[in-house]
């Protein structure tokens, strides 16, 4: 937002109206081209956002008009154990699933970055789970995780490990959701691969000439050159995991005993099952601010650890 060029607004006040008209003629095509998104932002984002902010200070059951209650909804959040349960579930998921997915997709991309025959076929295969609809993924994994006749436990028995309780116990249900999420690491693998391939080979050659071993080359070239990719995947991963909804809605709907009640699921329940729209709006705003804050923190600290090569755009 800081990139507003200061000379632009003043341009309209330029001396002659002829110059202003010329300016307008120059700008008009651009404004027309982006007008869909401007209207869309206004109608489907900004107006609803402000309305939602207003609702968050009201009690609103959809049937009768909203009634102003001040900060009551926000005050209630602080002492609502279900809200904190959902925060705990979401944060625990993000803290485990995002780094785990990042490391595993990174390793997979290294494996897929080989000059092997047919490697592009492998690359295509690992992306397939990403295009499988989330509803189908959830249905599928619900069957795989079934403790009695599911294949997950059959596999564990087969290799001599004890059976797992998967979705049936509060202690293990969230872990099962995390396992399911790892099925789609092909999405971030693609980003990793692009990063790996953008590293110029001469860097490795130069390092080799200087006598750097393989480990040192990875530590001093591969990882620093990949920090933008790590950064990109991290930001997207955080944003996505905090907004987790469809898979858990179908897979567990929050059960058992709210152990997989993600924030979005909680909001959906409050808003569209109990029709407490004001309270659900307050929760949505807290979630939005949390995402905004987290993203800002990652961006702010990125200067310290993300390396952008030269001024390549």
């Amino acid at each position: 937002m800081a990139e507003f060029r200061p000379d632009v607004p003043r341009a309209a006040d330029r001396r002659t109206s002829a110059a202003a008209r010329r300016r307008l003629r120059e700008w008009l095509p651009g404004l027309l081209f982006v007008s869909p998104v401007v209207i869309g932002l206004l109608l489907f984002t900004i107006v609803p956002m402000l309305t939602s902010l207003y609702y968050s200070f009201t009690r609103y059951d959809v049937l009768s008009p909203p009634r102003w209650v001040g900060v009551d909804n926000y005050a209630r959040l602080v002492t609502d154990p279900t809200f904190w349960t959902s925060v705990g579930v979401t944060v625990r998921y993000a803290l485990i699933a995002v780094p785990l997915g990042l490391v595993l997709s990174g390793l997979l991309s290294l494996l897929l970055n080989q000059a092997l025959r047919g490697i592009s076929i492998y690359r295509a295969l690992f992306y397939i789970p990403v295009v499988v609809p989330a509803v189908a993924t959830a249905v599928l994994f619900s069957n795989l995780f079934n403790v009695r006749y599911g294949l997950a436990n059959a596999l564990l028995r087969g290799v001599g490990l004890p059976e797992y309780t998967w979705l049936t116990r509060p202690e293990t249900a969230l872990n099962s959701v995390i396992v399911m999420s790892l099925w789609t690491i092909g999405g971030s693998t693609i980003i990793w691969l692009a990063g790996l391939r953008s590293i110029p080979p001469y860097l490795y050659d130069a390092a080799a000439v200087d006598g750097a071993g393989r480990l040192r080359r990875i530590w001093h070239i591969t990882i620093p050159m990949l920090t933008p990719v790590i950064f990109f995947n991290l930001v997207l991963g955080i944003i996505e995991s905090l907004q987790m909804f469809v898979q858990v809605y179908v897979l567990t709907n929050g059960a058992p005993v709210n152990s997989t009640l993600f924030i979005m699921l909680n909001i959906f329940r409050e808003g569209f099952t109990h029709f407490r729209m004001g309270y659900a709006s307050a929760m949505s705003w807290v979630l939005f601010l949390a995402i905004l804050l987290l993203t800002l923190v990652v961006f702010k600290t990125s200067g310290r650890w993300v390396y952008y090569e030269g001024d390549r755009s």
């Binding site: 982006v34 092997l116 609809p133 006749y149 980003i191």
Partner: protein, 298 residues
């Protein structure tokens, strides 16, 4: 980091420097990749095998991998157990409208951001990208009320009309990135010939943009075809349900009682169109969604 380093050492960081590598290592890598690919694709195989089993087979202990005989009758049985034909028609309608609207409007906006000048361009683009951080529920609750007051609930309008207004941040971003890579000289030559912005867009930029059009259309298709959040909020009447919503609802309503072979059949119907599309456009899609346009195959 140690895990990353270890994996990297095994795999080697630089492409194209394995020419002298021994056959043994290449074989080991193939074996690892094959095993991993089998693990990743197994769930889909599982879906197929379950869709052809008898109900008894689907709950046998220990589970079997493949049906003793192929029970094709599952398919019509499952399909007729709920109005899935209607759901499919609804999904096709919603998805088609969304793909057309989103791709066309995102192309226009992306071109505006990439090639044309107007005040506040960068600020506006940042705002568009920032909407990615906005949880759906912030806007969906008021939109539910707005669409209710407009009488749009239980119609496809709430799911399709917004697509015509920009098509989403990612679509606009992809078009903008792509149009920026087209050489400026093309525009300049056309301007000398008297072309206006629309003509440059329509007759120069668009014909060169097949990869990004395919990528955006595919991503929009996947998003719309698999969407559940929008349908469960805006569509209550069963006759209006989409396929994804129909499966989710049936699955939840009959959880544990519904025969899994039938669930597998319907899931397959939901899964196959995206898979076929992916198979057709895989190369363009990957090229389109990878930063810096590195779509070349190694």
């Amino acid at each position: 980091m140690t895990a990353l380093t270890r994996g990297a050492r095994k795999a080697g960081p630089a492409p194209g420097r394995h020419a002298g590598q021994s056959v043994v290592v290449a074989l080991a890598e193939h074996a690892t990749l094959l095993l991993l690919a089998a693990v990743f694709l197994f769930p889909l195989f599982h879906l197929l095998s379950r869709s052809l089993m008898t109900p008894a087979e689907t709950i046998s202990v220990p589970p079997t991998l493949w049906p003793s005989e192929l029970r094709w009758s599952n398919y019509p049985e499952a399909w007729n157990s709920a109005p899935f034909g209607q759901f499919l028609v609804n999904s096709i309608l919603v998805t088609t409208l969304t793909v057309v609207g989103a791709t066309a409007s995102a192309a226009l906006c992306g071109f505006g951001f990439a090639r044309l000048n107007f005040p506040g361009r960068n600020a506006l683009f940042i705002i568009v990208i920032a909407t990615l951080m906005l949880p759906d529920t912030v806007t969906l609750i008021p939109l539910y009320i707005i669409f209710r007051d407009l009488g749009w609930l239980n119609t496809f309008l709430p799911l399709t009309v917004p697509a015509f207004f920009g098509g989403g941040a990612i679509s606009i971003f992809l078009f903008r990135q792509y149009f920026r890579t087209l050489p400026r000289e093309l525009d300049e030559a056309a301007i000398l010939d008297g072309a206006n912005a629309w003509q440059i867009f329509r007759f120069i930029a668009l014909p060169l943009s097949k990869p990004v059009i395919i990528a955006v259309a595919t991503l929009t298709f996947l998003g719309s075809w698999t969407d559940l959040f929008g349908p469960i909020i805006f569509l209550n009447e069963q006759s209006k349900w989409t396929l994804a919503q129909g499966i989710a609802s049936v699955f939840q309503a009959y959880y544990g009682r519904l025969e899994i072979n039938h669930v597998a059949v319907i899931s397959l119907v939901l899964v196959v169109p995206p898979l076929v599309l992916y198979a057709l456009v895989q190369r363009q899609l990957i090229a389109g969604i990878t930063p810096s346009g590195s779509g070349d195959r190694g």
